[in-house]
Symmetry: C3
Subunit: 454 residues, 3 copies
């Protein structure tokens, strides 16, 4: 990154943010209205309102909401000097992304008479669309400006919504928990961006690319809220009630099993048998990712446990061995290891979906077969479509990520020079002009230093 370009965002960033918001408002005025159940005029006419899925889905929506804002936000606070950016840019990306996602998904999926009718499912799906960007954000964490992040949000959600429409809308691929369309998509998109934005200057590592004790504890807040609410993520958009119920049960067990293997592998791969917080923060979640595609299928709790076990194993191995190889050989600097948490487990989820679809049968599902799978396909046909969906997602993610990466390369976007990577100070006013680390030390030379705070 040419350090000669200014990182001062004073006008670039506000102009971009306000322009985007202004465009959004105009588009909303033109295209967005309330769904019938939330429209005073139509609701009063309509006696079926009590059956609107709103009350049933609102708790799940709020769980997903917590995953997006607290889960992803705090998960990335593990870096010792990048907590403000992790949780702050996460909020910025998600708040803009959900507005844009509502439009993109509405245009593609729901727009019949030119108007997009927002309802509780729109809110859930808009939150989902931001998840792809937040995953990609993890791959480039610490190396991008908020301007770049807003541009990536705009581009990635556009490409995501098209791919999602292709895969689940047109190809009728099953992916209720979005192992493929969100997790694998977000991971490989982000890895492609990270490859294009490769920084040779960071090849030897960076002082700030590590955690301190309490930053690791903040990250655990993110881990736990993701872990706990993942059953809501995987079940929220399932249409038939038994499938929704099954998605909750399956995800619950997959996550539980994943914890056991992630802990076991973390200890096994360390010479002294000690656990590594990176694994605990991340690999324990791989079971949720991997359970996504097959969550509403009849895989039974033991099948879920198996998926979770494998996810925990490959994720931990990935963090230990693949991430360093990616950085050194493939020139992909994956800050948060999204390949291990979202990439491989996402593919695993896609494969589990192929297998579970191939094994589906009238005998296993009874009359539920037609409710769970698209009509007029047999099991093997569906398995084929599942494979096509996985392949398409990976291809679109990689191509989209490369294109986006080249756009983000334009040196006008205020990207940080290498020496300022992983450091909040370049984009944030940090207490005392530095973080607690130095604050504490400087203050020992006299309280005058800290007095300046007040």
């Amino acid at each position: 990154m040419p350090p000669s370009y200014s990182t001062n965002m004073r006008f670039k960033f506000p102009i971009l943010a306000i322009t985007l918001e202004a465009v959004i408002i105009i588009l909303y005025a033109l295209f967005i209205t309330y769904d019938d159940g939330a429209n005073a005029k139509l609701a009063a006419l309509n006696t079926t309102i009590p059956e609107d899925p709103f009350y049933k889905l609102y708790p799940s929506f709020q769980d997903v909401h917590v995953m997006i804002f607290v889960g992803f936000g705090f998960l990335m606070t593990f870096l010792k000097r990048y907590g403000f950016s992790s949780v702050g840019f996460n909020l910025l990306i998600a708040a803009f992304g959900l507005q844009w996602g509502t439009l993109m998904q509405g245009w593609l999926h729901h727009s019949d008479d030119g108007k997009i009718k927002v309802n509780i499912l729109s809110l859930i799906n808009a939150d989902f669309s931001t998840a792809t960007v937040l995953i990609s954000f993890g791959a480039i964490l610490g190396k991008t400006s908020p301007i770049q992040l807003l541009i990536m949000t705009l581009l990635e959600i556009t490409i995501f919504a098209c791919n999602e429409h292709l895969v689940t809308g047109i190809l009728k691929v099953k992916d209720v928990g979005a192992s493929m369309t969100i997790h694998a998509f977000g991971a490989y998109f982000g890895l492609a961006v990270s490859r294009v934005l490769y920084r040779p200057g960071l090849q030897a590592g960076h002082d700030n690319e590590g955690s301190v004790y309490h930053s690791d504890l903040f990250a655990m807040i993110g881990t736990l809220f993701l872990w706990m609410f993942w059953p809501s993520f995987n079940s929220a958009i399932v249409e038939n009630p038994d499938g929704q119920y099954r998605a909750i049960i399956n995800t619950y067990y997959s996550l539980a099993a994943c914890v056991l293997t992630a802990y076991a592998l973390s200890s096994l791969l360390d010479k002294k048998g000690r656990l590594d917080m990176v694994h605990i923060q991340n690999a324990t979640l791989a079971g949720g990712v991997a359970a996504g595609t097959s969550a509403d299928m009849m895989i039974y709790p033991y099948g879920s446990l198996l998926i979770g076990c494998v996810a925990g194993i490959i994720s931990t191995i990935g963090f230990k061995y693949l991430t360093p190889i990616f950085a050194s050989k493939l020139k992909i600097q994956d800050t948060c290891g999204v390949h291990n948490l979202h990439g491989m487990p996402g593919i695993l989820g896609g494969l589990a979906g192929i297998i579970a679809s191939a094994m589906a049968s009238q005998q296993l599902y009874g009359d539920g077969f037609r409710l769970t799978f698209p009509e007029s396909r047999n099991s093997l046909q569906q398995a084929g479509y599942q494979a096509a969906g996985l392949g398409a997602t990976l291809a679109v993610a990689l191509v989209g990520g490369i294109i986006t990466g080249f756009i983000l390369l334009i040196p006008f976007w205020g990207q940080p020079p290498d020496q300022n990577c992983f450091d909040d100070q370049i984009y944030w006013e940090v207490p005392n002009g530095k973080n607690e680390h130095e604050d504490l030390l400087s203050s020992e030379h006299g309280r005058q230093t800290t007095n300046a705070d007040a």
Copy 2:
């Protein structure tokens, strides 16, 4: 504050707390019973129990509960040495306040045969009543004793309940998300108290009135839980289902837009274009405040986005320019900047409600017009009542706050001397007799120091 008075709370505080609790228990024994749906005797007789709103509202109640205890509590932990007090006094105020709020609201709103029947709406409204005090607490954070806070809770909830009854009960002003009756009320009440408790000794600032790196991250926990669950706050007490649904959607979009403008302004107003955590922690929430009054009206998502945009702008500008002026010119030392987060956005919400009421029509709402607005009023009449409600609320808050402030001035309540403001140590046993800051530094001179911990 006369430093000669004792700040030792040993007898004053326990006696006050236990006396208040004893009085509460007696009053509950006399006045409070279960609502029919929670009464074993009546529920068994009543076959309509399944339609009790309990199951539908319990998730929203819990969201509000999280906002009150985690949201407000952690939002105020940004001060480097006042975290115990922020989260701890928040819990104390809210736990006492909800008990008193149940009584006050019950007597005013729900008491027909002398008994108050508590139900899920009582719990939500009791939580709401504590929010006013927690907002006012923000204006005087760091400068009051827990004794003063209990007294303020008692007085403010009493006055709040009367004003709420006047505005929403008698005048039938619409304020479902309580922009006026909670947010503006709590802010101006607190600012009035702060004015009366003005401390010239703090005019030049105070060493402890600043954050450290991790205290700003703790505060973000509060911010995010408030931000995420605000749709529940603004919708919880809406009676008609379509209005409740609309309140969720409108608040969701208002908050999202507010984030964009708060970030944009934060950067724009800094010479180096950097973001300020104070703005991110607070101004991103102004969209939730401002959406409150009109949340269940037919303002459409683009209207919500507009309200959120304006809220984010005025709130950030307020933090940057108004707070210093308030302190220097008006002698109002507003520790958390509640004027910027709750005061101005609350008034904005009230104004939006006036406009949205004036623009309401049979054409826009259909038969829902009568469900949304009080019968026998036309739009302009309702707009007039909305304006009256806003004016009444501001007047009651200011007068109530001034009276309460003078009561809190009595030097018997153990208020901290200026030099001990913003410091937990005066009311809390802090590890090692000091906070982590010094703990860390002292320990380098030998482990004996820290050994004393054990």
Copy 3:
């Protein structure tokens, strides 16, 4: 503890964890299936699915889930160097425990045709079963290896499930919020284990057995999520809707009152009248524990306030006076003071249940009497059974804890030597090989030290 034995877990721990998970998977394949409402085959046949309690209970389940993973996990992060272990081992115990609990509870309670049908109640009950272990974990926090913890989880959940089946299944004792069967059980089990694992070397205290400023704030995250969601814990498994409703209301008020007395006593018992974070973090929750058994009975809100008041008082007094006596006289080193939070308040809850049962009458409950209490018993008979249930629980817990303690004494399990107690470093890779404490200080002598992080 013989320090000569190796604390390296490299093979022991992974082998144990993977073996346990493999056995679990086999048992699940043999015994566990979906409940009818989550079974595609049966759901499609069954038109009563919409009445499955799934949608009503899922929000409560998620609240309980948060209590288990965030609540218990962060509550124990108060120790300055044991945060990774507190929140990390909590996750490990709970993730394994819920898998084992599903099996044990299924075999004992729900298995008719040899298959256990999992549903939303299974998930809630499985989470409950882990709570006993997490409570016992608090009594031995800092003094055990993860291997010991997995063994304890296996044994304790087995014994818990048997006792729960005896007490609530066979004796038909009422204990909806599990004051006795979870809280008192977990506490006395853990205290018995702690007694057997007594370490004379820790009698004089330990450098690490204390908090720092921010570790106390992390612990408050746990406290607040437990406090807020306790009404869900006490109500989740109540069968009749009015009882469920009542359990929420009663618990809400009991917790609120408990805060007032815990704060009052904390101040009263300190010479300088200052509050102690240990009391605020823990004793404020005693009202939730104590409300458990009688939560769904007609004790009225003032009865709940009374229970909460007493709970807050005895819990705070316990922390101040009993914990030191337990350590010095009874050789029970109760790290988290579970006797004060779960033990005594659990017994109080049992006693309240006896009294509330004895006072129950047809007059008070109407036709609801038969829905709330087992048929064919009068009030005094039920009170007798309640007392029997409390006695049985305490006896089983103590005997089970002693046996478990002796099994954990086997020196092969990698327990830490005294000097490494309360320290994450023995089982975790800690940033820089030490915690933030030293990290900060060492880094001042040159950035090379911290560079090693990257």
